[in-house]
């Protein structure tokens, strides 16, 4: 008998009392009913609490803000599908610091390791938990680009902010390669005290675009 058959057989035998399949009581909140201003306020509060840096700008000011945040970076990577308008800030036109990454022309891990920062969009954000979900869409790119560089600049559009997790997950296709990010990397492994900055990007800048 194969291991598969045998394990399934063991499990069926274990369940020979035919336990009842319960109805799932979903009495928990399915949505938050917050208005736009409240959503932004909550998201900002939660992001700051987990040591992300946050700014709120009008959509037309996003390019300027990105340029400002990249001022210190010697190099940065962007996914090929990033909103082209976002890179029109004066200093960013014809920028020799910029590297492009895509599924078809990926940078190597070693190349990414030499790059200081990454700029991406995002799929959905969860205000209540300060979480940003990346789903690998063209404006977010491969998972590696938001992982190896030490500084992640992430644009969240107001329309993409959900109040609570159930609302956010309803907007996501679960079969995409997903990363849920809540603040910069952290550890609680020493005396259960939270310390920011281990292996993932140590600086997370969130630009909320309204």
């Amino acid at each position: 008998m194969s291991a598969r058959e045998e394990i399934l057989e063991r499990i069926r035998t274990a369940l020979k009392d035919a336990p009842e399949v319960p109805v799932i009581p979903r009495g928990y909140r399915a949505s938050s009913q917050l208005d736009e201003a409240e959503l932004i306020e909550l998201l900002v509060d939660r992001l700051i609490d987990y040591k992300a840096r946050v700014c709120i700008v009008d959509t037309e000011d996003v390019p300027m803000k990105i340029a400002e945040l990249l001022a210190e970076a010697g190099s940065y990577v962007v996914p090929a599908g990033l909103d082209a308008d976002w890179l029109t800030g004066l200093e960013l036109q014809q920028d020799s610091r910029r590297r492009l990454d895509s599924m078809t022309a990926p940078l190597s891990v070693a190349e990414l390791d030499g790059i200081d920062a990454v700029v991406t969009g995002s799929a959905v954000a969860v205000a209540e938990t300060g979480t940003i979900i990346l789903d690998g869409s063209p404006n977010q790119g491969r998972r590696a680009i938001t992982l190896v560089p030490d500084h992640h600049i992430c644009v969240v559009e107001v329309a993409d902010i959900a109040g609570i997790l159930p609302e956010a997950l309803r907007r996501i296709d679960g079969t995409r390669p997903l990363t849920m990010v809540s603040g910069p990397s952290a550890t609680s492994d020493i005396e259960l005290e939270r310390v920011e900055g281990v292996h993932g990007p140590r600086t997370l800048d969130v630009i909320i675009a309204r």
Partner: protein
């Protein structure tokens, strides 16, 4: 790898790091003597308790989430064969490869074989209870394959050649100064000026592991959840070492217990609210990764999953105990447990310590395995674990159930009656009749004599010695309650009893 001829008799128990090799009281006695350990644990468990209570109280629907979580897991257990097949179909359709492992040996063999196929002799690892349970690192080492733990706490434990003592924070028994000393001693090229500031220690770990991550070709992980309706796997983590392992290497091998399934994508909304708040006391953990088979052009292209039984089907066969398989390994129960807080995780022997370990280990191995029958007694049945458990596992009830399984298993063995048996039989004789009890109570003054002038008994004989190992008991009163009652409550018309000795009244 094990081969079987036909169907063995059921249930088939688990093997690997699931046993206490000495009895809990014995191990606890030794661990309790380590005052540094107790101080470290007390500090850490109290920190996390407060954080957990804080973030749990933020959610108005916490109890509803627990109810949903509990019911979802119950339905997973009831539908397990069907859900496993559904998951397998979806994961495979997306380019993943599924392997089934009956026990620890078989799982280890599969993982080693898969690594060997890649031609590599190294793998990076994400903290995983399942691989700890099967003793994968040790096995790979024997096979000439180096497995590098990348989680900070696992790294501390591995560098110190120690064993994990907590399922979430395996190095919870070490304080910052001890961690610094381990790094200075064991970490090549570490800054000699390293201080014990947690941020500096985390930075040292980052520098130490960076090269490994960037060059690793194979990663081994566990999984927190597997969604049957889409074939998706999830890993919940904090440091980014998980993302490194799940994203950068070419080959990813995940080892997961069969009970980790959730039926649908929607169920994730329940568990991703329950788990982070219960484990690290955060609203959300820094990183969660989800992948469904292979995504062309993004992440590992050679993706495997080893589905592990190793005693889970045996636990499932126990109708009273099967809900122990609902566990999502958040560690809340150990963080609130007064016994764990004092003894630490090593006293439980098994990979799974604390209240959940006290039920899960014997359920997976069978109560008679080594010293695992001592584990269900490692509890005061205070119920704090049940209150904290995000999926409402009634741990105290299962502890009591397993105690009775233990007693029954011994009764069948027809061995010489133990002191406990004799004591219990004597008690049943004495307590079944008021006359007999009254007769025995006449012996109370003898106890006073034994207690001596300070009115304390510091050492009881026989098995009762366990009770006085860490505490004294006061001398018995001069008279029994029953005698006192008789003297106080005389029939109407008779004179009250003589003045009594106040000192010994309750």
């Amino acid at each position: 790898m094990s081969t079987y001829l036909g169907m063995p008799s059921l249930p088939v128990h688990g093997t690997g790091n699931l046993h206490a090799s000495e009895s809990f009281p014995q191990a606890a006695h030794r661990e309790l003597a380590n005052t540094q350990l107790r101080a470290n644990l007390g500090h850490a468990t109290h920190t996390i308790r407060d954080k957990r209570i804080q973030v749990v109280s933020e959610l108005p629907d916490w109890e509803q989430l627990r109810d949903a979580g509990s019911a979802i897991k119950e339905s997973v257990m009831a539908r397990l064969p069907e859900l496993l097949e559904q998951f397998e179909k979806n994961f495979t359709a997306r380019g993943g490869v599924i392997h089934w492992a009956r026990d620890a040996d078989e799982a280890n063999g599969i993982v080693a074989g898969l690594i060997r196929e890649t031609g590599e002799t190294e793998a990076v690892k994400i903290k995983s209870m399942a691989t700890q349970e099967i003793g994968l690192n040790e096995y790979l080492e024997e096979q000439g394959i180096a497995a590098y733990e990348t989680d900070l706490a696992e790294l501390i434990v591995q560098l110190d050649h120690d064993k994990p003592s907590h399922i979430l924070v395996p190095a919870i028994h070490k304080n910052r100064t001890q961690v610094r000393d381990i790094f200075l001693r064991e970490m090549e090229g570490v800054d000699r000026e390293l201080t014990d500031e947690p941020a500096r220690l985390a930075a040292a770990a980052r520098a130490h592991l960076r090269r490994k991550f960037l060059t690793a070709k194979v990663a081994v992980s566990g999984a927190n959840f597997a969604l049957a309706d889409s074939g998706t796997l999830a890993v919940v983590e904090s440091e980014g070492n998980g993302r490194m392992c799940l994203t950068l290497p070419e080959t990813l091998i995940t080892v997961m217990g069969v009970e980790k399934l959730l039926p649908t994508w929607q169920d994730l909304e329940v568990f991703m609210q329950l788990l982070p708040r219960s484990s690290t006391g955060e609203r959300m953990n820094p990183y969660t990764s989800l992948w469904t088979g292979v995504t062309e052009g993004d992440g590992p292209q050679n993706v495997h999953l080893v589905l592990l039984d190793n005693g889970r089907s045996a636990a499932l066969a126990d109708e009273m105990g099967r809900s122990a398989l609902h566990c999502i390994r958040c560690s809340a129960c150990m963080n609130v447990c007064p016994v764990y807080e004092r003894t630490g995780g090593h006293a439980y022997g098994s990979t799974y310590p604390g209240p959940i370990g006290a039920i899960l280990s014997p359920l997976m191995t069978g109560i008679q395995a080594e010293e695992n029958n001592s584990l269900p007694y490692a509890s005061s049945l205070c119920g704090a674990c049940y209150d904290a458990c995000p999926v409402k596992i009634n741990i105290p009830d299962i502890l009591v159930h397993l105690r009775s399984v233990d007693v029954d298993s011994k009764r069948g063995k027809k061995k010489i009656p133990t002191q406990m048996d004799i004591g219990m039989n004597a008690a049943s004789w004495a307590l079944s009749s008021g006359k007999r009890l009254g007769m025995l109570e006449k012996g109370l003054p003898l106890g006073r004599l034994a207690a001596g002038p300070d009115k304390k008994i510091t050492k009881l004989p026989g098995i009762a010695a366990g009770w006085t190992q860490s505490r004294d008991i006061p001398a018995p009163p001069k008279q029994s309650f029953r005698d006192w009652w008789k003297k106080e409550h005389h029939a109407p018309g008779t004179a009250p009893a003589a003045a009594h000795d106040q000192e010994d009244q309750p």
